[in-house]
Structure formats: structure tokens, C-alpha cells
């Protein structure tokens, strides 16, 4: 478990005593804070900017979209980079496949093989995709293309319709694959100072690999692969 340097406190732990002493303890009823700067945020303003979606579905809007509708959205707005089947064009990310590859030498982390929550897919597509026109899709289009990407990964059936009730219920294959607590430090090196090892073997060298762009002169666009 991660250990914090200071115990959490609601009042600024680093605030100087003088100010702390003069800060009145505010109850929930207070209309403004101690400094009173800025404007109160209205419900309308909050609703327009608050776009995050949680695994329990909090934040998902009204609307819906089917796998079929999603296929059309995907072909128009996504396939040019992610490939018609989510296989990924060039260096653009793969969105499907890689099942069971996480223990392999070259794991393929995709929505199907790696992502723990379906809500994240809705949230991310909605906030950041398509790459060159973020936040340009309607909520229905996002539901539809989310359904389609899930279907590409065999996570939902072809008749699946995504909405704020169905999406949080989708179980992702790798849902249990994560440990949400930092186990580190996991390596305990010793501070040995003398005769720390018998022999030293160089096993790898970057010499002659020709992967390093130049570090002098103008930017080096030469080495592309």
C-alpha cells in the first residue's frame, strides 16, 4: 500500500498558522468560501463540462446505439486509423484481438484483451476520438461505436444496444486482471560497496544498432523504423 508522508487533513496542512487561525470553520450552508474569489458554478455550467463516466455508469447520458449503427460510424470515422476490424493501421492502436496474449512474449493490449471496464471505452471515445476531431460525435454515435468495438472483441452479441443501463453491465474479459494497489517497492537492492559480484558480463550493447536519431544538428527525421 502506498504510504503518504502526511496524514490527510481537510485543512491545508501546510497553511501558515496565522491564516489557519483566522479561517472561520465553514459549514455546508456557507454560500462563499473564505476568499470568495470566482463565480459559483451553475448546474448548467457543470453539466456541460462534466463529461466523465465511471464504471458504475455514473455520468452516462441518455441515448443509445446498436452494433449495426456503430459499424457505420466506425467505417466513416475510425477505420482509417484503427482498421476495419480494429486491427490497427501502421502504428495506430489496435482495438481488437490479442485474447490470451498478456502472458506471451509480445502481449497485445487491446480493449478486448486488456481493458477492465466498458465505461472507459464510452468515456474515452467521447472525450478524445476521432483523433483529429475530438468531441465531434453525438452521444448516440458514441453509444453505437462503443457497442461496435465491444462486438469486434466478441464481448457483446450482434444485437446489443448500448445505453446507460446496459453498458455498466458489460463484463470485460480482463476485469479481474488488475491489482489496484501499488506493491512497490518490490525490489530490495543492497547497498554493497566492495566485492559485490564475482564477474561482470556485458550482455547487450546499443552500439551499431542504428536506432538512435542524431543528437547534433537539426532534428533528425531520418530514422523512421
Amino acid at each position: 500500500m502506498f504510504s503518504f508522508h502526511k496524514t490527510p487533513r481537510l485543512l491545508a496542512s501546510t497553511c501558515c498558522g496565522v491564516i489557519l487561525a483566522s479561517v472561520p470553520i465553514l459549514g455546508a450552508a456557507e454560500q462563499t468560501g473564505y476568499y470568495g474569489y470566482g463565480e459559483p458554478a451553475t448546474d448548467e455550467q457543470i453539466a456541460a463540462w462534466d463529461i466523465d463516466v465511471r464504471p458504475d455508469g455514473m455520468g452516462l447520458p441518455e441515448g443509445s446505439g446498436s452494433v449495426d449503427e456503430g459499424m457505420a460510424v466506425f467505417e466513416t470515422h475510425c477505420a482509417s486509423c484503427h482498421g476495419a476490424f480494429g486491427e490497427g493501421m501502421g502504428r495506430y492502436p489496435k482495438l481488437a484481438g490479442g485474447d490470451g496474449s498478456l502472458t506471451e512474449d509480445r502481449p497485445e493490449k487491446t480493449v478486448g484483451s486488456y481493458w477492465p471496464y466498458a465505461s472507459t471505452l464510452w468515456d474515452y471515445i467521447h472525450r478524445a476520438m476521432p483523433f483529429f476531431a475530438p468531441q465531434s460525435l453525438t452521444d448516440d454515435q458514441v453509444y453505437a461505436v462503443t457497442a461496435y468495438v465491444l462486438n469486434l472483441n466478441y464481448i457483446v452479441e450482434a444485437d446489443f444496444v448500448a445505453n446507460k443501463e446496459t453498458l455498466p453491465q458489460v463484463e470485460m474479459p480482463n476485469h479481474d486482471g488488475f491489482i489496484w494497489e501499488d506493491p512497490r517497492p518490490v525490489v530490495n537492492n543492497e547497498r554493497c560497496m566492495e566485492n559485490c559480484k564475482e564477474e561482470v558480463t556485458v550482455s547487450e550493447s546499443a552500439a551499431g544498432k542504428n536506432l538512435t536519431p542524431s543528437t547534433t544538428g537539426p532534428l533528425d527525421e531520418g530514422i523512421t523504423e
Binding site: 502506498f2 508522508h5 468560501g33 474569489y37 458554478a41 547497498r191 561482470v200 546499443a206 544498432k209 538512435t212
Partner: protein
């Protein structure tokens, strides 16, 4: 009168031409451009083409009196915002074109090999963008704080600067720094291997001040930070950390944040992975659970050999690297040299750094240079007499928690080769007999 003036000008041009022969090409152009010799400018420019090689070979050392001693330079505000000398043109951020699909979601690396002390100049701070660098008008930018709070507010950038401010020196490191090297040595460069760490003095408002202002409801346990860029980058941060030492920063090394660093405001989350330091910050939401965003599930989670992944691995563990010599800065000659490097820890202060010249068989404690600050870069040095034989140079940091920087073999043993992030292993530089330096790995 006029004739005399012209003659003078022509004489001046002749001197200019002579002197310029002794200057490297860049300075020569600047010298000729300086405006003193405009009359003969065209002629001089034409005559220069053929003499470049000779110009490069000459010096201005004693007993020569250099031309800059015998002329006047450009006046004040020639550069109203100062820029580095043209002789420093190699000292720039650089990228690895084959690493990413597009420059708008990519990385550039700080030229650590050229930097002195611990502060990264603002123009050289490494960049990591997910949707390019937005151009934000601070007058039009707002920070909204809402969620499980008593008084949701919207702050202008002017409002923000009215709160009490703090300044603190902190490094920021991308957890993918060095991530290309898990499977073997690929890149032969300090800049590309370790340049995703930089350090600055950040000034802004403590997040605890802002959260106190809005009043956190008792159920509030987590904070979501969101950027205003085209990726609307988000990360969940536990309130314990948010209330500890996090700041909403508007200044970097004394001036407004650079656009690449989140202008007009960014989060600084001392010691934690770079991705949590959300740039172009537009929204902070208090909640009772983490949001499980793409940047904390699909990315910035560490895949282990057994197929499970570790999430919320926020802290940047202690790391160090020798910055001189390095592949870009080979040893010049046998004899006394100063080994120098940088060390840092996301858990606090650097306690000690050891240096080995024999691949980790024997170690000597290096000297730490003041100031030594928590969650900041710390510079170390050790004097070494190089006998001209090949050597294997390493540095090893110990932080104030007693954590000792691991070897790559130890780290791979524990984490396999597919975790991408958090590769804080000891770096080995091989010094060859000719003084050149190569990135190597030991088994």
C-alpha cells in the same frame, strides 16, 4: 563629406570580411548582419562563399585580439525576449520519429547531456502531448471545481492568482522514461534514454487551499483532474495526495508556464508519474471513487509476467544516471575527470549516490551538490582518474526511505520485460579505450 563616409564604410567592410574569416559560419553571419557594415553588405555576402573552410580553422586565441573586442555588439532589446547563443543550436529537445504514429501524440526528450545544475530551462523541458499543444487564451480559460463539494466554483486565471501562492522545485518524469530498453539496449544516447525527466521551480496555489475554499463533503475521497486539450486528459488522484503537496501551477522558473507545459495552468503532483500532472487544467471534480479513465487502465498500468497488471502505481521510484560522460559526451583524455550525474526520488530526498567504474563490483560514494530537495533533481559528482582502459560506469541512488536503486537484472526478475513503465534501473555506460561511451546492459 558623403564620399568620405562611403570610404570609411568600405574600409569597415574590408575589416569585417577579414575578421569574419576567422569566425565559425554562424557567428560570421551574425557579425556581418550586425548593421555596422550595411554599405558593403552585398559585396561581402558574395565574397564569403568560397572561404568557409578556412574560416572554420582559424582561432581568436591569444595573441589575437578577437573582433568582438574591437567592435560594438547589438544594443539592448535586440532580443526583447532573450534566446540562447546561436552556438548552442544543438541544445534542443529531440524526438524519436519511429516511436509514435504522429507528433501530436508523442514525446520529446530533454538534452540532459548539456544541462548544468538541476533546473531545466523552460524551452528544454521534455514534452508529452496526447493531442498536440493547444493555444489557450488565458482570458478565455476557466478552472471549474465541483463534485462532492459544498460550493462549486469557476475561477478565472486572475482569480487563481489572488490566492496565496507557493513555489516549489520538483522534477516531473514520464513513467515511460527508458521504457524502450526493457528487452535490450537499443538507443545510444543519454537524451533519448533518460530525457523524459525535467525539473523546474513551480509557482501556483496549493490544491488544499482551493479544496478548502470549496469545502469537501465527507464522502469525498478522490479527485479527477481534466485538461482542456483535444485529449481532455484525465487522471484520478486520491484526496490524501491532493491535500498533501499538489499545486495548481501557473508559473515555471519565474515566468508563466510554457504552452508545452500546460499554459495557463497545470497540476504539479510532486514525485508522481508525469501523466498525473494534468496540463491545460480546466476541471477538478471531487468524487467518492476513482473514475478508471483510459490513462489509468489501458495506459499507465504495469503488465507483469503472470498476465496481471498493477494499476495506480503513481510514485516514481528513486533513479539516477551519469550525465557526464555519456554517449553524447565522451571522455576527452586519460587522467582526472569529473563524473557527474542526476539523481531523484518520488518518495522524498536523495540520501546518497554511489558510483562504480567496474560494472558494480565496487562502489564509491559520490558527493551530493546543494541544494538537495525533496522530489527534485539532485546533482552528484565524483572525481575519477581514468587510466585509458575500458570501464563500466554506473550510479546508484539511495533515497531517504532507504530504498536502493535496483539493477536492471533485479528489476526484470521482478517485473518481466513487458511492463513498459517505471524502469528505474541502474544505467551502465561502457567507456571504450578511445573515450567513447556506449549504452550497455549487464546480465
Amino acid at each position: 563629406m558623403l564620399g568620405k563616409l562611403r570610404r570609411l564604410n568600405q574600409d569597415a567592410s574590408k575589416i569585417a570580411l577579414e575578421e569574419s574569416e576567422r569566425l565559425p559560419s554562424e557567428e560570421r553571419r551574425r557579425f556581418l548582419r550586425s548593421g555596422l557594415f550595411t554599405a558593403g553588405g552585398a559585396m561581402v555576402g558574395g565574397a564569403l562563399a568560397g572561404i568557409a573552410p578556412k574560416a572554420l580553422a582559424s582561432t581568436q586565441f591569444p595573441p589575437e585580439i578577437p573582433p568582438w573586442t574591437r567592435t560594438l555588439g547589438p544594443g539592448v532589446v535586440t532580443d526583447p525576449y532573450g534566446v540562447p547563443s546561436p552556438f548552442e543550436k544543438d541544445v534542443i529537445r529531440r524526438n524519436v520519429p519511429w516511436l509514435t504514429a504522429d507528433k501530436v501524440s508523442s514525446i520529446s526528450f530533454t538534452p540532459l547531456q548539456h544541462l548544468k545544475g538541476i533546473i531545466t530551462p523552460n524551452g528544454l523541458f521534455f514534452e508529452r502531448h496526447h493531442a498536440g499543444r493547444p493555444e489557450i487564451d488565458p482570458q478565455q480559460h476557466r478552472l471549474m471545481i465541483h463534485g462532492l463539494v459544498d460550493r462549486p466554483i469557476i475561477l478565472s486565471m486572475e482569480d487563481l492568482q489572488r490566492f496565496p501562492s507557493v513555489s516549489q522545485i520538483n522534477f516531473i518524469e514520464c513513467p515511460a522514461n527508458g521504457g524502450m530498453e526493457w528487452r535490450g539496449a537499443q538507443l545510444n544516447s543519454l537524451q533519448f534514454l533518460h530525457g523524459m525527466v525535467s525539473c523546474a521551480e513551480w509557482t501556483g496555489v496549493r490544491l488544499s487551499t482551493l479544496l478548502q475554499e470549496v469545502g469537501i463533503k465527507p464522502e469525498g475521497k478522490w479527485l479527477l483532474a481534466e485538461g482542456a486539450d483535444g485529449a481532455a486528459m484525465t487522471r484520478s488522484i486520491p484526496l490524501e495526495k491532493a491535500l498533501d503537496d499538489v499545486i495548481v501551477a501557473y508559473a515555471q522558473n519565474g515566468e508563466a508556464l510554457r504552452r508545452e507545459q500546460g499554459y495557463p495552468i497545470r497540476l504539479v503532483v510532486p514525485g508522481w508519474e508525469g501523466n498525473t500532472h494534468v496540463k491545460w487544467l480546466r476541471r477538478l471534480e471531487v468524487g467518492d471513487k476513482p473514475w478508471m479513465q483510459r490513462e489509468e487502465t489501458s495506459k499507465y498500468t504495469d503488465l507483469m509476467p503472470d498476465g496481471t497488471a498493477h494499476g495506480f502505481t503513481w510514485v516514481m521510484e528513486a533513479k539516477s544516471v551519469i550525465t557526464s560522460p555519456c554517449p553524447e559526451m565522451p571522455l576527452k583524455s586519460k587522467g582526472v575527470c569529473q563524473i557527474e550525474g542526476l539523481a531523484w526520488s518520488g518518495r522524498g530526498k536523495v540520501k546518497a549516490v554511489d558510483v562504480s567504474v567496474d560494472g558494480g563490483q565496487n562502489w564509491q560514494q559520490a558527493q551530493l551538490r546543494e541544494p538537495v530537495m525533496s522530489k527534485s533533481l539532485t546533482r552528484f559528482s565524483l572525481e575519477w582518474k581514468w587510466d585509458g582502459n575500458p570501464a563500466l560506469l554506473q550510479s546508484r541512488v539511495i533515497d531517504e526511505t532507504g530504498y536502493v536503486q535496483p539493477t536492471l537484472a533485479q528489476l526484470k526478475q521482478a517485473r518481466g520485460t513487458n511492463s513498459i513503465y517505471h524502469k528505474n534501473a541502474i544505467q551502465t555506460w561502457k567507456v571504450n579505450g578511445d573515450g567513447s561511451v556506449v549504452n550497455v546492459q549487464l546480465s
